[in-house]
C-alpha cells in the first residue's frame, strides 16, 4: 500500500511549538506567511522584521533571517534592509499597536515612498502583549483595560481603518484585508499574502495585508465566543476583501490567481 503526504509542516517554519495563547491568530498568520514564502521559492532570500508586541516571537518560529525592530519602527528597518538588499524578499510583520499607533508615521511614509516591502498587519483590536489595552483599532464601546467603560469615541476617537487609509496613497499597489477564523477565510488570506509578496517581487511598490484576528485571552472570551464576537462586531467595521490591487493592471505575472483563491 503506497502512502502520499497530503499535509506537512512547511519548511518556512521551525519545528517548535509556539508560545501564543489558545485561539490566537498569530500562529495561523505565521504559517500562511511562511507557506507563501516557500511557495515563491524565497525562503533562503527572505529577511523578516519582527515587531514589538506578541509577534516579536515570530523570530523563534520563522525559518528565515529575522531581526527585531524598536516599537513601531518596523517599516523603517524594513525600508533600509530592502534598500541594501533589493533582490531579497523583505517582510514587516506588525500588530495594531505597533503599526497603527506608535509607528503610524513609519508605516504611512514607507507606504507613501512605495517601499518594495510587504507588511503583514495583525488587527486584533487591542494591545495583546501588555494585557489588552485600547489600540487604535479598538471598536467603539469595546471594553479594554484602559477603556473600562468602553471606548468613548468622543474622547478616544474611532477605530482607525489602516487598510483604507493607506489605499489612498498612489505608491501603494496592493492592499487586502483577510481573516483567520474559518478555513475558507484562511485560504483566502493566504492568497492575499501570496499576491502581496508577488507585488514586491515584481518591484511594483508597497503591499500590505491586514489580518483581522481574535485575542481570546485579552478579550476574556473562549476562542469560539471570540470568533462570534469578531464576526458580529469587527467585520462590519473592518470589511474583508481586496481593497486595492493596482498590480493586476501593471504586472500580468503578479495578477495570476493563487490556487488558494480558487479553492
Amino acid at each position: 500500500m503506497s502512502r502520499k503526504t497530503l499535509f506537512a509542516r512547511t519548511p518556512g517554519l521551525k519545528a517548535v511549538p509556539t508560545s501564543y495563547c489558545p485561539g490566537c491568530g498569530h500562529g495561523v498568520a505565521h504559517r500562511l506567511m511562511a507557506e507563501a514564502v516557500v511557495e515563491l521559492g524565497a525562503r533562503e532570500r527572505t529577511v523578516a522584521v519582527a515587531p514589538v508586541g506578541c509577534a516579536v516571537y515570530g523570530y523563534d518560529y520563522w525559518n528565515f533571517d529575522t531581526t527585531e525592530a524598536a516599537h513601531g519602527r518596523t517599516p523603517a528597518v524594513a525600508t533600509a534592509i530592502k534598500r541594501v538588499l533589493p533582490d531579497r524578499l523583505v517582510i514587516s510583520y506588525q500588530g495594531d499597536g505597533d503599526l497603527a499607533s506608535i509607528g503610524l508615521a513609519e508605516i504611512v511614509h514607507a507606504a507613501n515612498r512605495g517601499e518594495r516591502i510587504t507588511v503583514i498587519f495583525i488587527n486584533n483590536a487591542n494591545y495583546g502583549m501588555t494585557g489588552g489595552q485600547m489600540a487604535p483599532t479598538t471598536l467603539a464601546g469595546q471594553v479594554t483595560t484602559t477603556t473600562p467603560r468602553g471606548r468613548d469615541v468622543n474622547e478616544a476617537g474611532y477605530p482607525l481603518k489602516i487598510a483604507e487609509l493607506l489605499a489612498t496613497l498612489p505608491a501603494v499597489k496592493y492592499i487586502a484585508r483577510g481573516a483567520l477564523h474559518r478555513p475558507a477565510l484562511i485560504r483566502r488570506s493566504k492568497g492575499y499574502i501570496r499576491r502581496a509578496l508577488e507585488v514586491q517581487e515584481a518591484g511594483l511598490g508597497f503591499s500590505l495585508v491586514e489580518l483581522v484576528s481574535i485575542c481570546p485571552a485579552n478579550w476574556g472570551l473562549t476562542p469560539v465566543a471570540a470568533t462570534q464576537k469578531l464576526e458580529e462586531f469587527m467585520l462590519p467595521v473592518f470589511p474583508l476583501g481586496v481593497i486595492k490591487d493596482e498590480a493586476a493592471a501593471s504586472a500580468p505575472a503578479a495578477a495570476e490567481t493563487p490556487p488558494e483563491e480558487r479553492a
Binding site: 525562503r43 533562503e44 532570500r45 527572505t46 529577511v47 522584521v49 519582527a50 516579536v56 523570530y59 520563522w62 525559518n63 528565515f64 533571517d65 529575522t66 531581526t67 527585531e68 525592530a69 524598536a70 519602527r73 523603517a76 528597518v77 524594513a78 525600508t79 533600509a80 534592509i81 534598500r83 541594501v84 538588499l85 531579497r88 524578499l89 508615521a105 513609519e106 504611512v108 511614509h109
Partner: protein, 364 residues
C-alpha cells in the same frame, strides 16, 4: 570632488563618510547640519549609494539600524534636539551589536535652544544617552581635517567592535571652512585610530538564509539570566574599548605649571590661550581628549603626577569637568589640586583673553 581645498565642516564630514565606504545615509533636516543631507542627496547617487530623507529622526536612526542589519555601512546625522530622538535607535543598536555612525552637530540646549555651536550634549554622548546599560565610543574633532579623519575612523571602530559610534561635532565646526586634503582611506586605516587592525567579517548580517541556518538579531532576552549574561558580554566589550581606544592630544605638559583641558571647537580657543601663555613665559600645557568615551583617563592621570593646576574650558555648564576630576583623582586627592572652570553654555564661546586671565589668576 574629493580633491584638496577649502571645505565646510559638514560637507567635508559627509564626503569622508563616502570615502569610508558609507553608501547609505538617512537624515532629517535640522540646523546647523543641513549641509549634510543636502550634500548626501547630491553625492550618494554619484557613487551608487542611497540617500533617503526620513520622515523623522526616529525613522532615520532606525533605518541606520536596518542597513546595519543587512551588513552595510550606514550613517545618520543631526543636531542636539534630533539626537535626543535618536537615542532609541542608538540603544537598540548597542544592544543588538550593530555598527553605524551617528554624527551630532551640537547646538545650544536644553529644549529647542538655539542654533549656535555648543557642547551641552557631553553627558548624553558619553554616558550612554538612551536607556539601559551601554556605552558608545565618542570621537571629538577640533578641526575640519580632524573631522574628516575621525569620520573615517568612526566607521572602522564601529565595525571592529560592532557598536554605534558617535562623532561629536558642533555648529562651529560644521559651519566653518578649512583647508582639507582627504586622506587615502587605506592609509588612514593604518595611521588612524584603527592602527591597522583587521576588521572582522560580518558573519552575523541578515542576507537571507541561503545554505545556512537562519540568523537572528534581537535585544529582547526574556529567559532567566539571559539579559544579565548579555549585559556582561557588552561590558566586556566596553572594557576592551576602554583599554585599547583612549586617545588624546597632549601639548607641552611635561614641564607645565598649569594645564588647560578642552575638547572639540572649544579646544581651538584653549590652544590659542596656551600659546599665548607660553609666549608670556608661563609654563602652560594642553590636554585635549580626542575620544571622550573612552576618556583618556590614564593620560590625564599621568599629567596630574607633576601638575596640580588644571583649567577646564567647556561650552557647557560643567559636564566635561567631571571626567577631568575622575582622571586627576586617580593620581592625587582633589584637595591637592587647584581646579578652575570656564563654562560657556547656550552657544557662547570663551575667548583666549579670559582663559589667559583665569590661568594667571590660578598661578598667583
Amino acid at each position: 570632488m574629493t580633491g584638496p581645498g577649502f571645505w565646510k565642516g559638514n560637507e567635508a564630514m559627509a564626503e569622508a563618510a563616502i570615502l569610508a565606504g558609507c553608501r547609505y545615509y538617512f537624515g532629517y533636516p535640522i540646523t546647523p547640519q543641513n549641509e549634510v543631507p543636502a550634500y548626501m542627496s547630491r553625492r550618494m547617487p554619484e557613487v551608487g549609494g542611497v540617500f533617503l530623507q526620513a520622515e523623522s529622526e526616529l525613522a532615520a536612526v532606525n533605518m541606520v539600524f536596518g542597513a546595519a542589519v543587512a551588513g552595510a555601512r550606514a550613517m545618520t546625522s543631526s543636531s542636539s534636539p534630533g539626537i535626543s530622538l535618536k537615542q532609541e535607535g542608538i540603544s537598540y543598536m548597542a544592544a543588538c551589536e550593530l555598527p553605524g555612525v551617528i554624527v551630532n552637530v551640537m547646538r545650544g540646549g536644553p529644549g529647542l535652544g538655539n542654533i549656535a555651536g555648543s557642547q551641552g550634549d557631553y553627558w548624553q554622548a558619553t554616558r550612554g544617552g538612551g536607556h539601559g546599560d551601554y556605552r558608545t565610543p565618542v570621537l571629538a574633532p577640533h578641526t575640519v581635517p580632524e573631522l574628516v579623519e575621525l569620520t573615517l575612523d568612526a566607521f572602522d571602530l564601529a565595525d571592529l567592535y560592532r557598536t554605534p559610534v558617535l562623532v561629536l561635532s558642533d555648529g562651529l565646526l560644521g559651519q566653518m571652512m578649512e583647508n582639507v586634503s582627504f586622506p587615502d582611506p587605506g592609509e588612514r586605516r593604518r595611521a588612524g585610530l584603527l592602527r591597522g587592525r583587521e576588521l572582522p567579517p560580518k558573519d552575523w548580517a541578515l542576507t537571507g538564509a541561503q545554505g545556512r541556518p537562519p540568523r537572528l538579531i534581537r535585544s529582547l532576552l526574556m529567559g532567566p539570566g539571559e539579559l544579565e549574561k548579555h549585559n556582561f558580554h557588552l561590558a566586556g566589550k566596553y572594557a576592551a574599548i576602554e583599554k585599547e581606544e583612549p586617545h588624546a592630544e597632549i601639548l607641552e605638559c611635561g614641564d607645565a605649571r598649569i594645564v588647560l583641558a578642552a575638547y572639540g571647537s572649544c579646544a581651538r580657543v584653549a590652544k590659542g590661550a596656551q600659546r599665548r601663555l607660553r609666549a608670556q613665559g608661563i609654563r602652560a600645557g594642553l590636554f585635549r581628549p580626542v575620544t571622550l568615551w573612552p576618556f583618556p583617563q590614564r593620560d590625564l592621570a599621568d599629567i596630574a603626577r607633576t601638575v596640580d593646576r588644571f583649567l577646564v574650558v567647556e561650552m557647557s555648564l560643567g559636564q566635561f569637568i567631571e571626567d577631568v576630576k575622575l582622571a586627576v583623582a586617580e593620581e592625587k586627592s582633589l584637595k591637592q589640586v587647584k581646579l578652575g572652570l570656564i563654562a560657556k553654555p547656550g552657544g557662547a564661546v570663551p575667548t583666549e583673553e579670559e582663559i589667559v586671565a583665569q590661568a594667571l589668576e590660578m598661578l598667583r
